[in-house]
Amino acid sequence: MLSECDPPLPQRVLAWSIATAVGATLALAGCAPTSQADAPSGTAAGTHPVEHARGTAEVPAAPQRVVALEPVELDTAVALGITPVGAAVASNVAGVPDYLGVNGVQPVGTVPEPDLEAIAALKPDLILGTEARHSKLYEQLSAIAPTVFMQTQADPWQENVLLIGAALGQPDDAKALLDGFNERCDRIAEEFDVHGKTVNLIRPRDETTLSLYGPTSFAGSALECAGLTIPAREWEDGLQADLSPENILDATADYVLVTSADPADDATIPPAITQNRSAFPSVTLVDTSYWVSGVGPKGGDLVLDEIEAILETER
């Protein structure tokens, strides 16, 4: 089904003439409406060029029907006041994350495997994706609507927010959001003066692996910008370091944050920590949906809220 809008190879046309004939009919049916919608908008005055990971796209000046394939794109769009019509989700079951506080965003497959048919059915006027994840889908996506790809979902994240702001026609607002985030961070650092205090953000993966988040990661950078220090270790790309439970005592810090799908449930603290409780004086469960997946200005604000609350109670 993914190949519906794919231009068939010449050999394939010969060998699979019947199949491609059917496929072409489907392709026409599937792609015709959007390509018609595409043509006038390309010539109209209401578009602007956006440079991105795959070249330059002609994007409507004020996109109305946005589909976001990456969490940071969804978060940033919502933060800029544009509720996407569709978004790829981390989980088909959980759907669009609650923390965004938006309704009516249609899930269009999972982030690693977006559903092209569902995207086409929404008749978007702008699609936001990620080269590192959706590279192979670019041609098909841009046949549906103008498509802007950020290079990679890997942090640092703020560059991506600026690109998304440009694609949505609100570059200044995006810049203002980031400035607001960074200033708030600095204020927290000043207010609580936690200089020299250490913090570790732990994501329990499964029984064999605990992931620690580094200073370059989304939440890690927020923690450091709020004045806390993440102890040095060997990070993969500065983002993450995996530990076996055998080495849990390497993860001790003044503040230890543990990500959880259900932060109200203390049973979600991994046994490696509960069985060594004396080595972990301060353990706080935090919500995975924005501490890990909620990359963007909205998720960032919630992360700062919680950092503030944690520092407040432990002051």
Partner: protein, 350 residues
């Protein structure tokens, strides 16, 4: 099968005095190897505790960190490795003898796929996250799918023969795996938690999970050993087996029951650990000959040693993190399997 072939086989089954001495030596060697594997599993890990610290813990002392690492992590995972290994070794030997296929794997009856599907259903629809509860669910899944395989395989005329059971097992297993993959893809977040179970892991199964399944494994291993003489008769072909007075229906049901319990418990505890059930009985046959009365005990001793050594390797390779044991056994097993396949002539059943 010619008369000459039968008499050759009888020679192989009988064993001379020197052959018997070699077997006792071999068993002693296996026990020694297993003891070494247990010792390594207790002393080595991604946390490079000094040997003295581990000894202190075993003597009842030690630092809190050493006590945690040895008592809470290495000891239970070692016992898990022993149980899982013995179960997989016995199940593999049984299924290879029963299907008379030296490349059969315990998963061929759909047991692993059934266990995995049950776990996936539990995670997706019941929101289960606790390994202790999932073990029983996995076991139930293994049981249900094996019964289904048996019913499908024995539908129509006559009793279920190994070929029809294998076909039914592979087919139903594929159906189960397809559904499992679908569930996993639709909710990657919930299933990420099960990453290590899916890859095969010995960590995190405490004694509270282990002890209740031990009697099942014990009885099934004993049953496997008792089935060995009957399986020797089956190896000669059904007609000859029948003429020798073997109770084919009894053997069949015994094997299916034992394989279900053994592979079901192993998969439930550790997830699908690949290659062990396939490789170990194969090596046992290669070294100790075609007598099931040797292959079974050898497999039961050799498999846990290999599981434990693979687990130790997985802890050391990417320290301070770990590689789940199932991935290591696949890496270790693949070359061994290729080597075995290349000398297929020597290990063909007859």
């Amino acid at each position: 099968m010619t008369v000459a072939a039968i008499s050759r086989r009888r020679d192989a089954l009988g064993g001379s005095r020197t052959g018997r001495a070699r077997i006792w030596l071999g068993l002693l060697g296996l026990l020694g190897g297993l003891a070494i594997a247990i010792a390594l599993s207790l002393t080595l890990g991604s946390n490079a505790l000094p040997f003295g610290d581990v000894l202190d813990v075993l003597r009842g002392g030690g630092s809190p960190e050493a006590r945690y690492v040895v008592e809470e992590l290495r000891l239970p995972r070692t016992v898990t490795g022993l149980v899982v290994g013995a179960a997989l070794g016995a199940a593999g030997a049984l299924i290879q003898a029963f299907t008379r296929n030296p490349l059969a794997d315990p998963g061929i009856l759909g047991v692993n796929a059934g266990a995995a599907l049950a776990v996936a259903l539990g995670v997706a629809f019941l929101g289960m996250r606790d390994i202790a509860a999932l073990v029983w669910l996995a076991f139930l899944g293994a049981l249900v799918v094996t019964i289904a395989v048996y019913v499908v395989g024995s539908a129509g005329r006559g009793a279920a023969d190994p070929i029809r059971l294998t076909l039914a097992g592979v087919a139903l297993g594929a159906v189960c795996s397809g559904i499992t993959t679908g569930l996993t893809l639709s909710d990657p977040e919930a299933f990420e938690h099960l990453r290590s179970w899916n890859a095969g892991s010995l960590l995190g199964r405490g004694f509270d999970v282990l002890l209740p399944v031990l009697p099942f494994v014990g009885i099934a291993v004993l049953g496997a050993l008792l089935l060995a003489p009957g399986l020797n008769a089956v190896a000669l072909g059904e007609d000859i087996a029948r003429s020798q007075g073997a109770n084919l229906a009894g053997i069949r049901i015994g094997v299916i029951l034992a394989v279900t319990v053994l592979a079901g418990v192993a998969t439930a505890l550790a997830g699908p650990i690949s290659f062990i059930g396939l490789m170990v009985p194969h090596v046992a046959r290669w070294v100790f000959g075609v007598d099931q009365r040797r292959i079974l005990p050898v497999s039961i001793l050799l498999a846990p040693a290999i599981v434990l050594l693979s687990d130790v390797l997985g802890r050391l390779l990417i320290a301070p993190a770990e590689i789940p044991v199932g991935i290591v056994t696949a890496f270790v097993g693949a070359p061994v399997l290729i080597a075995l396949a290349r000398r297929a002539k020597a290990s063909a059943p007859s």
